[in-house]
Symmetry: C2
Subunit: 478 residues, 2 copies
Amino acid sequence: MRRPTLTLLAASLLLATGLASAADTVIPDAAVKTAEQLRDKALDDGTAMTVLTSLTTEVGPRLAGSDADQRARDWAVAKFKALGFDKVYTEPATYPLWVRRHESGAIVAPFPQHLVLTALGYSPGTPKGGLTAQVVSFDSLDALKAADPATIKGKIVYVGARMQRHQDGHDYGIGSAMRVAGPVIASKKGAAGYLLRSAGTDAHERIAHTGVTGFTNAAEGIPAAALSNPDADQLERELGYGKPVTVKLDLDCGIVGEYTGANVIGEITGRKHPDQVVAIGGHLDSWDPGTGAIDDGAGIAISMAAAKLIHDLPRRPDRTIRVIAFANEEMGLWGARAYADKHAKEVSKFLLGTDSDLGAGKVYRMNASVAPSARHAIEQIADVLKPLGVAYDAKRPGGGGSDLGSMHAKGMAALTLDQDATHYFDWHHTPNDTLDKVDPKELAQNVAAYAAWTYMAAQADGDFGSAPGAFASDGAEE
Amino acid sequence: MRRPTLTLLAASLLLATGLASAADTVIPDAAVKTAEQLRDKALDDGTAMTVLTSLTTEVGPRLAGSDADQRARDWAVAKFKALGFDKVYTEPATYPLWVRRHESGAIVAPFPQHLVLTALGYSPGTPKGGLTAQVVSFDSLDALKAADPATIKGKIVYVGARMQRHQDGHDYGIGSAMRVAGPVIASKKGAAGYLLRSAGTDAHERIAHTGVTGFTNAAEGIPAAALSNPDADQLERELGYGKPVTVKLDLDCGIVGEYTGANVIGEITGRKHPDQVVAIGGHLDSWDPGTGAIDDGAGIAISMAAAKLIHDLPRRPDRTIRVIAFANEEMGLWGARAYADKHAKEVSKFLLGTDSDLGAGKVYRMNASVAPSARHAIEQIADVLKPLGVAYDAKRPGGGGSDLGSMHAKGMAALTLDQDATHYFDWHHTPNDTLDKVDPKELAQNVAAYAAWTYMAAQADGDFGSAPGAFASDGAEE
């Protein structure tokens, strides 16, 4: 899941001219025509679904640092090679190793009830025998922030704000803050543990949504878990009786050391400018309860399949298409940050980029953060994507996605291809993130969009404005 | 969940006359008017939702024979008393005690995958360390029936038929047969274990549907469990690779003895004929993963609330309204059978009855198995229920529900009030059987129907034909 990019560019940067001036970047007519063919071919191409089926079936869940992490990297290397990529390699990424062994919980009093919950990333475990404490409840993160620590000390904090479904998934702003910042705030106020209503829009599923907390060191960690929505309802009903409510948490999880994984990279080598790259991708890791189909097997499949269509053209594109399967996005963009640190000095060589990490729903909107001289070329891309139902919003910046956002922060020109996320947060970070949630036609529409824009960028006469620190003004800060 | 009554009555029994003859049972005008008032009042009455909230919150899951079984009975006695019922008592029911301690499973090869599954009722546990065996797959129960035992011996049988949503829930015929008969057939053919695609219509939920098997003694039992629909998809995908697929089941469950629970009964005592009863109810036990809101807290709540509305009238009805909260329906109608055995000789005193056990969706159809002389009275009831959206189908028999079906089999005249079960099998026998699935307005519509017909039956001039063995011809056999 990527971070929303909320800052709007100054309108002056975004006003595009209808006709290109001599200084403008332009996509040649032949490239536009080929991109249209790629787009149309992609809609009938099953490669992405085949890749996604392979990943979710043959590897399945791939929690960063787990046994499946290595299996996923082996799978990615083999898949890139099988698809015919010209160059396949890995680059290491090191991060704290967090493991989940067991998790359970229950309301102890006034009425015993089993709780469906899941431990959150970087949560420490509870003491042997579990943690039993009274619950203190808040209906929002703001209420927790405002609370007197004396009311919290030694208790299990519960925060119960709800998320609603939206096409752009913006209520994840509520849910992710409750999950990332909430445990840290509770810990600082002396809480013994932390529970939240799952950051999910599935109001009626007895399935909890995991995800990372903001704990940055073991010292500040307290046991933290998410309740399924119906279990949060049940807890709130018990709280409604006006008697003390006691919960027992039994979590066996925590940081057990450090792990070195890797980003896995496949390239279609550029014919004219092999050192100039158009960057796409997704993240290879997933949370463990599901099989990581929508988060983010889809992004891996979309980008591999888009590059494969370009690979299958009669000749290589002018520039290199680089597909990056990032390591450990879920617990803090570790692969992305390692990548951006390693390649910061080459940022001008990254012509344009974005990864895909909001599921497998149709792309409905494209935004860009590029130099003014590249706006005409972006409009050319938008024209090719328009028949796919993709609107171009010239007033919004492109963030580059969750992982390539780190390169955008270094100065890479970036797109955002917004996917329809209406149901994404029903399944996100849960056991329900499985292949059956993916509509092959919608997945193919994504591939069509990625194949078309990637190819057009690779063939552009001119660049998109990538340079060190070029996009700091649109909020793309490190 | 009740058994569908599929046998149609001979049409000749069902043709009702528009006008009552002298020998016909008739509901007096005053009773019709009061029933209409009860119906309308019920639509704005929150008692059923309050009762259901209390049961699911204060007791929660109540697997027959578990600690919660006693708590549920205590709850029912207290609730009947609090609602002002004139008489509250229990009658024992004894049954095998089956317990569930732990369940897990995984595909071991060719690609390791965790499986979301749940053990089935009366399943024995696996040996210590689990049962690991190759899977042999069938796409229907018929295919399993036709299979050569040599292909099954020592393997884990998997049956993968799917259920679709229907208003009358008729695909449960597929699912329940696969769950009840399937394990027995597999066991007889020498299988080491049994797996089915959950008998549920939630094609995309990583939640398994439990339920009873047809094992009647420990000797024939083999470990048996249900996979969630997406896990069944995953297993089928692995089978599709054409390599041997091995599964490990680890079930700690089984029959550990015998238990004596009880049916809990509350009565509004009849003013004129206290010994003549109109019988309604539901079952108090539930499966353990959910909180038994739709199965069958709803039936308990509907029948308690309907009787309570009659209780609140200025004077008691002519006959007794008996609400029966049956014991252990889920593992074989144990409470119902104990009840019918005990009361078989009094069957003529049971004027008319049915319990509610298909969730909390709106009643959309009423059917009856009554004497021809009572058809006019049934039409009078149908007229009062019509504004609720309840159609009267004179060609279908009334089965009396899952539990009171046992009294119908003894000769009790019976109704069936069919509920809209479109989504019932999404949640049935799963952790998702929770209060949030119940629409208070739809629940109240059920109460309106039950209050109206129950009162009308209690005030009828004449009977409905109850007599020993009276309805054997409509399939109501013991």
